[in-house]
Symmetry: D2
């Protein structure tokens, strides 16, 4: 169950104590929320009668805070004025690795010009081999921050270990947790504590339930701003790098209130298939897409084969907007207003 | 390589003989086509010089007739006036099992009314248990034929064994080969020989290459009218019945000229997710969708949980058309003309 | 439930009629067995009281005849004196494709000499491409029959379509149903009706439950002699051709009374790993192994990379016997007797 | 390539400088080893001529230090006198979670008495839910250390984050890195730097290549004592918790010199199948097994369904020894000596 306290309550100790007296364990999740596993009816009665408690929500799912049972309306996240989770699709784009200041600024300007919303870029890179380029680290984040200054676009970048969360959070607007770290619980907790919005990628063999339970680790630290990212699962098929699982989009939206974006670049792994899969992701109902772009993909330092050039990116943005408008006609008029 | 003979040539024996003399084996595929595995340059020269030969196409892919290398333009199939493979999406719908004459006629009329194009229905049913209802067999096909008479809709139904191909082909407009039989080669050959259009479903663990090679079996019998159907692959994820692999849509379109439709009913296995996945399939570029519908899904004899009722079906058709129009604006004016 | 009739009963019509009168459907499976889906208590009472009925066995599993609930002791099959399903492991070996009479006789003699029990060989071959060698067909079976004559070894070969079951059954001692046909229900029924022992391979993405339900199709035709063969499932791992799933061995033995053999040749797809996986299969409890061997694997017409030469085969047989003896010490003395 | 320096060389700076001058990057891996990605022939010549260099080994595999190309003989690790990687199988056993001092001591004594070699136990537990018991942490490690004192058995326990490596390494003899963290590169580096032997579990969807590249991260820190652990991969099959992939055993042994053990407890997830799969693992060639045991599995705090009781464990040890002796007859006499 989730216990929501009155917003006037300053501390939850008293409530936690009563829960413990009743023989249960409560977990504080944010200033006015407490989770108790299970839905014991007696306990519901006890805490429901406390003056500090506003409401008690019994919940069947194993990820109470992430579930729609607890939070029926969609979570909408505002990052420097960009809305993630509304009906207008959010476009996140940028290079796999931040390569140089000029390069990231050039890309950021292309994202901005195409109507994109967020700049992505890798600074701390998880690489299969210890002998591969591991990213520019903090230097890369500084370059991204300058690109943000020049374009106004919020920035997102990956963090790989709990100890680096504070450092990365100093620069980025959204922390990214990569597929390999979906169940890196200390990292999830640290990202939760940072208070920054977090984009949590689905693991290569993560079930939707495990993924939502991983999101619960972040939410349980009192951080409500979690974005899920479907980036392809591992199957037997080798014609694509991974299998972008768009089924996850409506399923997640049924089970959870958290916004979900799709990453067709990693999902299919070949640039020529990114555009149709981006369209399909939006048609499935995704809140947005995240893609890899580069002025000259063939020369990109990593992920060259799945990276769009600027022309392909512009076409993709156009397609994504067409599909979104077809399904949400109100967007068209909004767009007309912007252009007017 | 594929050897295309002049259309005036009445028999290919002479060409096959010359191929054999050169030490190779040629396979006749239709009245004026011969396939020889590999691309031996000497042989290309020899057959290229024969007066009966119009052109010789060297081909790298293991499925020459199914490949875009051989046939660059899309295959478009006309079934009783319904166009499969054009920019207008084709909607195939109907019950999992044909239950009764009244039932199938009612459903056919609903398909027609919603703007659907083909009536589906199961008469010979592959069932996991020998003790489950195995379909009405020929009686079911007769009911479908009556439904066709009343609505003008062409009909599609599954055939499960080579011996039954002639019988099923007597009734249906399109033969369906199910996922379990994707690599049932005697069945593929028999369906190829029937001359009827064939819809070939992807096997639960069929790779895209294996699937196209299975299509090649049908094409190699001289039957050019093959429709591919993506219906979900088997992965570790259990939140959906299968994992509808929409990535296959652009990949197949890149590799092959054959039209591909998607089956979100089997792909996700839950009615509530069929509509978004149908939209997504069209956005990915599919030539159409095939779905299970029933006036009262809860009472359907099989696949109840993944079956749409008529209202949901109408909403789905509307969504599919919106997405198609957004990506192919010319369709809108065509539709306007129809309605005018 | 399974209804076992007294062995004196000549026909089951009366029993089937009473079942129908009670509102259920009974399926005759052999001369004295009837299956009724479900375990209705009232019906158990009714049929239990019939004089023709010996016993009624309520069964929870979806494959009553294949389940241990119905048949607690192991099924043991005697094929020309070779025992399949006892504690002594059975060794089936031979070429992927039967190539020539000399070749198959040479191989059969090697199998015999090494202490093998059954000669395998492909005559009707399921091939991914319509342009690949499809096997010698009946000629191949004739060659195998001669090899049997010369060595006394029973023979096993694949049948791919219902129409060919009678032909193949004329020659072979065990019908093989391949992985691609695990759910080819008309083929399963035809194999069941043939009365011959049938080895049913697990499909590439067949669950253990689906596999046992496929076996049920054969058993339901009154044919009790089904051997299961684990031959590798399809997973994401590409270091091996398939993933030989040895876990299936103890799981199947827990759920079913049918003997299970393992096929490490297809399971791993590389000759150098066949021997350790054969050993492991026996250690897991398998009733035997089936492997591909050839006097000169590099020149084998198909599956060259996974085929053992005779020396490797001898080492494998030795290993298999060591492991079997370690786990069943009584085998050692039996072997000593044979050699004495 | 791997560059092995003379053991007399005190520092590698000079060699690294020469590599850099030649336009390459060298990575120091331990006191006398340097890795340079690729096998540039010119560079081989240059460094081969340096007086500090003993030999230069060109290597094709992407994990040079883990490959058999570099290190042809098996790695054998001695942990407090227990030999991991020899022909005698090593048995690691213990509870999923350390529960209490009495409990862990009782289990350690059972392991010792059965002839087991290493005590396992979870202190820091990765749990899917943030609201589940997360382990006793350092207290649990202290209890394990006491159990070690009382039995002489070395201990192994999991570490989940780089920051805790020093703490865990203070207590344990072998650091365990769990399946979820196979590609947690900061953790791999930290474990490598600790100098302690590390057991690296394969990720649920880790390919064998990715796994060996993960091991390379540890080796690249100069830590040669890596043990691989196959613990089941994620497939479509739900009859078992995971699919223990024994094929990985011979494949890894072909590609790498590192010892590999198997974990049938997590691999199948059901106690009744642990014993046959442990036997099969040893028959496949594994260096040992790691299993979960508990005096009363039904009351274990976690993983109850896959945990053996002491009697089952004793039977398993006996089976494992029988199989090992059958394949390595020299072990029998060694055992006889011990018992004498």
């Amino acid at each position: 169950m989730v216990i929501v306290l009155s917003s006037k309550v300053k501390e939850v100790t008293h409530v936690l104590d009563r829960i413990q007296e009743a023989g249960f364990t409560g977990y504080q999740a944010g200033p006015s929320t407490v989770v108790v596993p299970g839905n014991d009816e007696k306990l519901q009665e006890i805490v429901g009668a406390l003056p500090q408690v506003e409401r008690v929500v019994p919940i069947k799912s194993p990820y109470p805070l992430a579930s729609r049972e607890f939070h029926p309306e969609n979570t909408v996240i505002n990052v420097r004025g960009q809305i993630i989770g509304g009906s207008k699709p959010v476009i996140m784009a940028g290079p796999c690795s931040v390569e140089s200041l000029d390069n990231i600024v050039e890309i950021a300007q292309a994202v901005k010009k195409a109507g994109g919303n967020v700049l992505r870029g890798g600074a701390f890179k998880p690489r299969s081999s210890p002998y591969s380029f591991q990213g520019h680290g903090e230097e890369g984040l500084k370059m991204m921050a300058i690109a943000r200054e020049k374009t106004g676009l919020p920035i997102i970048s990956e963090v790989m270990e709990p100890d680096k969360v504070a450092l990365v959070a100093e620069y980025v607007d959204i922390l990214q947790i990569g597929a390999r770290n979906m169940q890196n619980y200390p990292l999830l907790r640290a990202a939760g504590k940072s208070g920054k919005p977090v984009m949590l990628k689905r693991g290569l063999s993560g079930t939707i339930e495990e993924w939502l339970m991983a999101a619960e680790y972040i939410l349980a630290e009192g951080n409500p701003n979690v974005i899920l990212c479907e980036r392809g699962i591992r199957t037997y098929e080798t014609a694509t790098r991974n299998t972008l699982d768009l089924n996850a989009v409506p399923v997640v939206q049924h089970l959870s209130h958290l916004p979900i974006v799709v990453d067709p670049s990693h999902g299919v792994g070949k640039a020529q298939f990114v555009r149709p899969m981006a369209r399909a992701g939006i048609a499935a109902g995704a809140a947005g897409v995240i893609v890899e772009i580069h002025p000259n993909p063939a020369k990109a330092w990593s992920d060259a084969s799945q990276t769009l050039d600027f022309d392909e990116f512009n076409l993709m943005v156009d397609d994504v907007n067409r599909v979104a408008s077809a399904l949400h006609p109100e967007l068209d008029s909004a767009r007309a207003l912007v252009h007017a």
